[in-house]
């Protein structure tokens, strides 16, 4: 399966059991497994949420919402059952970290789900894994069966009198389902079309019950916070950005891979020291710092600490931790075209700005990159993207708009270089559209 990498600057928290056979329950128990759930049971709901708040853990799926606060929004008393839903529909281009967690440490995710459940007074959790990750779904099904066999799940866990069930669930191919409300629709056996909010899932979620939804990496961090304490975890990162995260280095770097680094780690250092610099002696051109939806940073903007707040200040986002590195052989028009083809393909079509916007942007970029661009297209791309921003039910519209706006703004000259039927300056084969619509 996927190779593991390592670097001396790594601080291994979530990845500390990678490569150690921890998918096996006995091995997991040797490596402090299921101690976090027992600690959480003794802390109780308020104690857990206090630790989580102190940890400054922010959602690792992309939005970076403080996890402890999210959990505290779930009402204590609710007329309907409450649920915990783990989002393993990892599909933001550039992101491949949850795959490693589910492969190497599935029990840590189960533990995270149980701790979240105790914190919000839920008795049922679901772990949703994308359909393409079939081997991970099988690993998870076995992990759950093993945990049930030992009595770690089900009735009266660890003699506490608390009942908690965890089930796996599988997708069948849809980026959109990674959005929290579409995820719930999918789990209920429907098309993954987002729900309008409010009400938020913490109040009205799965089958109408209050629901906590967290990313795989977020939940896999929880057991470590329970055992090491919130303050310890917070101290690993920067203010308001606790802990470490799995950064997925990909693209034109010499040593791509998934590295666990403290939040706030310098991006330039990440590229040039951790990931071995740009391959083939080329120059750094741009970076997509947090998955394809995040605004690109130019080479000279890469001297920045990788946490949610510093990247926001730099005009981008930390997103899902997918760091895609581009060297100076990359055509930014083609890069944006590829991104837009993706979002057009994945738009669920429910709201018009996203459905029509992504389609027009894709068509324009296809024509543009193939040499059929006219001057006013450049302004139109910008205009269309700006008018999608913030005008859709879910963030997919924003996800498509943000890279478009940033690339046109920062690399306008490259668009101009494609005008008047000129072939792509980066690629002799540019006249043919590389991929079908």
């Amino acid at each position: 399966m996927a190779d593991l990498v390592s670097h001396p600057d790594e601080v291994k928290v979530v990845s500390r059991r990678f490569g150690q056979g921890a998918a096996n329950l006995d091995r997991y128990l040797e490596l402090d497994g299921y101690k976090a759930v027992q600690k959480a049971l003794s802390l109780g709901a308020d104690g857990i949420i206090n630790e989580m708040k102190a940890s400054n853990l922010r959602g690792r799926g992309g939005a970076g919402f403080p996890t402890g606060m999210k959990w505290s929004f779930v009402p204590k008393q609710a007329p309907k059952p409450k649920y915990v839903l783990c989002n393993g529909d990892e599909s933001e281009p550039g992101t491949c970290k949850d795959r490693l967690i589910l492969e190497h440490d599935p029990h840590s995710v189960i533990e995270g789900v149980v701790v979240a459940g105790i914190a919000v007074g839920s008795h049922t959790g679901y772990i949703y894994i994308r359909g393409e990750y079939r081997y991970l779904s099988e690993i998870m099904q076995k992990a759950l069966a093993d945990a049930y066999a030992r009595g770690f799940l089900g009735k009266n866990i660890f003699g506490s009198g608390y009942d908690f069930d965890v089930y796996w669930h599988g997708g069948a191919g849809a980026y959109e389902v990674g959005e929290e409300s579409a995820l719930m629709e999918s789990l209920e056996g429907k098309r993954g079309v987002p729900r309008i909010r409010p009400p938020f899932p913490a109040v009205v979620g799965l089958w109408g019950g209050p629901t906590v939804i967290n990313n795989v990496e977020t939940l896999a961090s929880v057991p470590h916070i329970m055992l090491g304490g919130g303050e310890w975890y917070a101290s690993l990162g920067t203010p308001k950005n606790g802990g470490t995260r799995l950064f997925c280095l990909s693209g034109h770097v010499a040593k791509p891979g998934v590295y666990e680094l403290p939040l706030g780690y310098n991006l330039k250092k990440m590229i040039f020291e951790v990931a071995g610099g740009i391959r083939g002696g080329n120059k750094l051109k741009a970076v997509t710092p947090g998955g394809s939806s995040t605004p690109v940073l130019k080479a000279e903007e890469c001297d920045v600490g990788m946490d949610f707040d510093q990247l926001m200040k730099a005009g981008s986002m930390l997103g899902s931790g997918g760091v895609v590195v581009l060297d100076d052989t990359t055509c930014m028009v083609k890069y944006l075209q590829r991104i837009m083809m993706f979002y057009q393909h994945e738009s669920c079509g429910w709201c018009i700005p996203c459905r029509e916007g992504t389609d027009w942007l894709k068509k324009t970029l296809n024509r543009f990159h193939a040499g059929g661009g006219v001057e006013k297209d450049i302004g139109n791309i910008q205009y269309l993207a700006e008018n999608m921003l913030g005008r859709t039910f879910c963030p997919l519209g924003d996800a498509a708009a943000m890279p478009a706006i940033s690339i046109v703004k920062k690399y306008r000259q490259e668009f101009e270089d494609h005008l008047n039927g000129r072939p792509c300056p980066f690629d002799a084969k540019a006249a043919e559209v590389a991929v079908p619509a």
Partner: protein, 160 residues
């Protein structure tokens, strides 16, 4: 319709995991497809009946998910990722090579029914790009040559 014992065991077990029957729909459709090769009219009728849905509701769900298909395809579905990280690392060459070898385009199937080809979006192999999946198996750090050898392996498995 008859499905494998594993399928039936899983289906019955999953029904107990949710407060509504239709919640099992998405994963069940994929497991059905794995056994049948595609979601036939008969399969759609069957699952609709089992979950007390009408066929249209089931078709409505199928059309949303990109892994689900109502058309037969090859025994081995070769899915090459075309998204950004793979593109930057040479996916275009892999795609061209696989297409040439199989002699089919996007979503095409070879005449002997052995292989189908599909360009897919991000499969979560970005740090090991370029990548493809043949059915559910990941193949990573590809070149056109390496992909060709991998397909040789599948072909060999069938002819032996």
């Amino acid at each position: 319709m008859r499905f494998s014992d594993t399928f039936e065991r899983r289906f019955t077990e999953m029904l107990g995991h949710y407060p509504t029957r239709r919640s099992v729909l998405v994963p069940t459709l994929l497991y059905m497809q794995d056994e049948l090769g595609y979601l036939s009219d008969e399969a759609i009728r069957e699952i609709a009946q089992r979950l007390e849905l009408n066929e249209l509701e089931v078709r409505n769900v199928i059309s949303y998910y990109s892994m689900l298909t109502t058309k037969p395809r090859g025994k081995y579905n070769v899915q090459v990722c075309r998204n950004i990280s793979c593109m930057l690392c040479g996916a275009d060459d892999v795609i061209a090579g696989v297409k040439k070898r199989l002699g089919v385009g996007h979503k095409g199937t070879t005449a002997d029914g052995m292989f189908s080809f599909e360009e897919v979006e991000c499969i979560g192999a970005c740090s090991w790009a370029p990548a493809m999946q043949v059915n559910y198996d990941f193949h990573e750090k590809l070149t056109a040559e390496k992909a060709d050898k991998i397909l040789d392996g599948y072909k060999m498995k069938e002819t032996q």
